[in-house]
């Protein structure tokens, strides 16, 4: 099978973001989605630290320490962007004004619970940032992650073993193997990478999947 690499996965997510959408891209892998948004589609990126309309990375030497994203990386602002304070920024998030949040995950459960902030390890220093706000607030929560852990276990699980970020919040899961919708009646496979069939995907995944209406 042809597993998607990080860039291919980002491109796969980007393909689904429509014109005019307001989108928050989480720290790490989701940030990569920005590089693959289709040219000519106007999509407005939000960052928790008070900015709408994030543009491409600045050219080397053009960085401004006062213009960063939630990952504290230097960014630029598109023409038409706006700055605002943290309470307004999280008002946008909690108040359901963002169309999409794209988040990384340790685990997603069959009913859409998300675990992405804490491994629960006793010596780990916990850090949550804006993850819990985004998970409860965005109109659609899209998760991007590898399908399997390094030891080959499914990250899509019956019940999260890691501490939750939010319950029943995930709408769609993008992995390096498949795209899966979380619906009230279960997990619906949307598409599967070339060279992998539904039976094998099901075997690799921890919980029951439903076949796509049109076989992949």
């Amino acid at each position: 099978m042809k597993k998607l690499d990080r860039k291919q996965l980002a491109a796969r997510v980007a393909r689904d973001i429509p014109e005019g959408a307001y989108v928050n891209l989480g720290i790490g892998l989701p940030t990569l989605v920005a590089d693959f948004l289709p040219k000519g589609r106007e999509i407005i990126l939000h960052s928790e630290n008070g900015v709408l309309g994030i543009g491409p990375k600045p050219a080397p030497g053009e960085e401004d320490e006062d213009l960063i994203n939630a990952g504290k990386e230097p960014v630029t602002l598109l023409t038409g962007g706006a700055y605002f304070h943290h309470a307004d920024s999280f008002g946008m998030i909690r108040g359901r004004h963002l169309d999409f949040a794209v988040l990384g995950a340790f685990q997603v459960s069959a009913r859409g619970d998300l675990a992405n902030w804490h491994t629960g390890a006793p010596d780990a220093i916990p850090a949550v940032g804006g993850a819990m706000d985004l998970a409860v607030g965005a109109k659609k929560v899209l998760v991007m992650m590898e399908h399997l852990t390094k030891s080959g276990e499914s990250k899509i699980v019956e019940r999260c073993s890691y501490p939750l970020t939010a319950a029943r919040c995930v709408d769609r899961i993008y992995t390096d193997l498949a795209v899966i919708d979380v619906k009230p009646d279960g997990l619906h496979v949307v598409d599967i990478v070339d060279g992998l069939d539904f039976q094998e995907l099901q075997r690799l995944t921890g919980v029951p999947l439903k076949k796509p209406l049109i076989a992949a």
Binding site: H46, A82, Y83, G91, M92, R96
Partner: protein, 227 residues
């Protein structure tokens, strides 16, 4: 290309259904979206719930909407004014319901709706008639009343400038409830004096970011009625 400009107030409000809850910007006439209200009257929706600081002045704008008997209920802080005769008449006749809300609580309830807050404790009105029947709680050394958000179907706002993404600026004290109402409605409709190119509003000076705005109509000052 994102383009939130629509052709006319009528086009911007064509889909308002009977029974809608509508936030109407303005403190007195400052910020009141007169042309949008005219279009709402012409559009014909009935049984509306209206949220505004006041209950209309004289015979135009919100007063005309009330006078036309389109308003089932109004939430406001200060309905009684020298020239609020349309409201006064219907209120005394029992034909309009009034929910009187202290002005700061009104603002905060609208903000809460926009910001995803489920309810909040405010010290305002504790121990008064306006808190009767409401949940109260002592927190620290102050007593508070629990208040709930005011969610709406539409917000009708008058701003000064807008670009096609919906970034807005206001003018002086005509800002008042506008930035709050823009956050709290499913569909925020704005009339502006001037539309500008993207980028003409400095990103530091945007008061309402476009994410809160859905439809924009240009109403040049020259077309404004003699108020």
């Amino acid at each position: 290309m994102i383009n939130k400009f629509v052709a006319s107030p009528e086009a911007a409000l064509a889909d308002v259904p009977n029974g809608a809850t509508i936030l109407i910007h303005g403190f007195g006439n400052a910020g009141m979206p007169a042309e949008l209200i005219d279009a709402l009257i012409a559009q014909g929706a009935r049984e509306l719930t209206i949220v505004n600081n006041n209950a209309g002045n004289a015979d135009t704008g919100l007063a005309a909407l009330i006078g036309a008997k389109r308003v089932r209920k109004i939430l406001c802080s200060f309905p009684r004014q020298a020239d609020s005769w349309h409201f006064d008449r219907l209120y005394r006749a029992g034909e309009i319901e009034l929910e009187l809300v202290p002005q700061g609580t009104l603002a905060e309830r609208i903000r809460a709706a926009g910001a995803g807050i489920g309810a909040f404790f405010t010290p305002t009105a504790y121990g008064t008639k306006l808190a009767e029947g409401k949940e109260t709680r002592r927190i620290g050394e102050r007593d508070y009343v629990l208040e709930y958000p005011i969610h709406a179907d539409y917000a009708l706002i008058k701003a000064d400038r807008a670009d096609r993404w919906g970034n807005l600026t206001y003018r002086k004290t005509a800002r008042n409830f506008g930035p709050l109402m823009a956050m709290a409605a499913k569909c925020t409709v704005v009339q502006v004096r001037e539309t500008v190119e993207l980028g003409e509003i400095d990103p530091e000076h945007v008061v309402t970011p476009g994410i809160f705005v859905h439809r924009i109509v240009r109403v040049p000052a020259s077309l404004k009625r003699a108020a």
